[in-house]
Amino acid sequence: MGSMRMTFLLYRAAVRGEMQYRLNFVMLLALGLVYQGSGIAFVWTVLRTFDTIAGWNFGELAFLYSLRLMAHAVWVVPFHQLVSMDTTIREGRFDRYLVRPLNPFLQIITSRFRMNVIGDVMAAVILFTIAVNLVDIDFSPLSVAYLVLAVVGGALAEGAAAVVVSSLSFRSVQTWAASQLVDNIYLMFGSYPTRVFGGALTWGLTWVLPVAVVAYIPSSVLLDKTDSLHLSAPAAVAAPLIGVLWFGAAYKWWRVRMRGYQSVGA
């Protein structure tokens, strides 16, 4: 419990620090909104001419997109600082984390707070509100529970990839580009029904890099579209667990890599 409280206090300090720059805060907020909203603007515009993308209409695509945004927000709000772990290591600040009595992983993620993630959260909430009004989903307690599980599973699926990439920086590798690339892959491939990318890639985006489990599979389940999936219906329902398993494995891997850490000697 001590480390829980400590983590919370560190977050609060990081947010307070960031609030000092008000204009930048507004700009970053707008950036988060536009950046996350630009994909759905594309979908909306092309669907003025066309009816569907691979059988998905605008409401369904907006729902899929908002599910990805929510999973992304749940991941990115607490954990986004992992992206700058390579800088932390290069500048020798990681040594300090090792001698303090709190898990180094928790210290990294609370080191700073970047305000554009608030824009990400707002985009997610706004689009989800719009999307649920466009689609026909029966919100029974069971489907709400599944929705929560799907968002958490999706967040962990995206997080697993980010954790693995950040672990590379223990061996003095610059990971900025790699983590941006992973971020872009989740953003770009995760926003559409995965099957438009073809069979082989759909398989890879399910089992190797778990992108399809973030939004495509769970929204197929909730929208009752599982018959066009590449998985059987029960497997699709269980898909959020893939994210949980991947994240557990990724975190274990991160701890193992940390033992190989060598200080830059700052």
Binding site: V34, F50, Y192
Partner: protein, 278 residues
Amino acid sequence: MNAGQATCSDGPLRNLPAYLQIVRGRLRIAMTYRQNALFMLAVVILQIFILRKVWTALYGEAGVVNGVALADVLVYLTIANLQSWAMQDLAVGSYLYSLVREGRIAFDILRPAGFVPQMLAHLVGGTLSMVLFATAALPLVALVGTLGPPASSAAFGYWLLSLFFAFGISMLLNLIVGLGAFWTTEIGAFGMLFTLVSQFLAGALIPLYFFPDWLRTVAELLPFQATTFTPVAMYGGQLAGSEAVQAIGIQLLWIVLLAGAVRLIWSRALHRIVVQGG
């Protein structure tokens, strides 16, 4: 006339060697940081791939929509994205911001060569290096996206001419974004916003003939479409004949307007520096 003056020729081209030196410097910087450029290129190539797949799914069974075949749209998207990537050089913008923030700008202004031409030389060098990277990536792009020959030799000619003007418009737009450094000290968020919005309105993700009418009107009133849609639609033959001539006229009009805007912004910016410098 004494000998000293005779050695340095007058006229607008007297600073040309200095500008060439800047262009060369930019190319060297790009080569040193090539990993950065290669990563950015990887993202564009992914985007081209995804656009191909999504547009193929959109067309589905339909062969021709709004009078355009799927294959033509795919060639359009491939060229448009590669081209707009090469012209969106934010590196010079960030360079300008760091100059202003750290006060080093005084040295650039004191040089005998004009400051705006110096920045244009930076932009030419930056874009030239991006074009080199994009050209080197062509085989991979052909594999991931769709490349095809131009609609006709006239279409190719129009494309080349229009591409030249598109390059001019892009540079002026990038310069205007960079000159924002005199009013605010942070470019990161604004630069990305600019890139996102301008890419969309330039027609890099959706050709303008698939925009709803009101959005097409908005896009046509802005300069962005003249950087991407105009040349690439000429390449594919969707923009030909008198329409193509008119589109090139609009490009020239934008160059004049934007150059005027740069002049105006620069004179105000210079005034601000004088005030700040005390």
